[in-house]
Amino acid sequence: SQQGEEDPQALSIQEGENATMNCSYKTSINNLQWYRQNSGRGLVHLILIRSNEREKHSGRLRVTLDTSKKSSSLLITASRAADTASYFCAPWANAGKSTFGDGTTLTVKP
C-alpha cells in the first residue's frame, strides 16, 4: 500500500499569510489527493492531482506534484481562521489502497 507522510507535523501562522505543507511517498502513483479534517470530524476531499499533472489550483489552494522526487505540496494562500484543521495527503496506486500519515496540523491565528 501507499502511505503519505506529511511535513511539518504542525504549522502556526497569522491570518492572511500563506501556508505550505508537504507530502512524501515511496512508490509510483496514479494520483495523489489532499484532505482536510476539522477537529474529530470526517475528512473532506480538497483536491486530486494525477500523476501526469504538475500543478493544480482550486480557489485558494495550489497543489504541486513532483513524481521524480515523489513529493507533493499544498499551498493555502491568504489563510483564514476557518482553515485551521489537519491536512492529510493520500497517494493512490493501481493496487487500490492507500494509507494516511499523521497529517499536518495547521493553526491560523486571527
Binding site: 494520483n31 473532506v44 497529517g103
Partner: protein, 112 residues
C-alpha cells in the same frame, strides 16, 4: 443529495463486547472503505468493499469484519473489543475505479 452517513454517532462499549457500525454511501457510489483513527493520528485503512466482497484489507486482526449489502451500504463489526479499539471509525465511499473518496462524519467508539 445526501453524503455519506454513519450511525451511530457515539457508542460506549465494555471490553469483550461486540459492536456493529453502519455506513450508507453517497448516492452513485458502490465502493466503501473503513478507517480507524486514534486520537492524534491519521486514519488507518481497515478494509474496502466492492460488489459485496472485501477487496482490500489493511493490517487489522480478524476481529474486524465487514459486510456490504446489495444497496452498497456497509457494516463494520468488531468482536471481543479491547481498550485499544477506542477510536473514531470513518467510512468513505467512492465510485468504483475512481480514487476520490467522500468521508462520513465518523462513529466515536469508546471501550471501557
Amino acid at each position: 443529495d445526501a453524503g455519506v452517513t454513519q450511525s451511530p454517532t457515539h457508542l460506549i462499549k465494555t471490553r469483550g463486547q461486540q459492536v456493529t457500525l453502519r455506513c450508507s454511501p453517497k448516492s452513485g457510489h458502490d465502493t466503501v472503505s473503513w478507517y480507524q483513527q486514534a486520537l492524534g493520528q491519521g486514519p488507518q485503512f481497515i478494509f474496502q468493499y466492492y460488489e459485496e466482497e472485501e477487496r482490500q484489507r489493511g493490517n487489522f486482526p480478524d476481529r474486524f469484519s465487514g459486510h456490504q449489502f446489495p444497496n452498497y451500504s456497509s457494516e463494520l463489526n468488531v468482536n471481543a473489543l479491547l481498550l485499544g479499539d477506542s477510536a473514531l471509525y470513518l467510512c468513505a465511499s467512492s465510485p468504483a475505479r475512481v480514487r476520490e473518496q467522500y468521508f462520513g462524519p465518523g462513529t466515536r467508539l469508546t471501550v471501557t
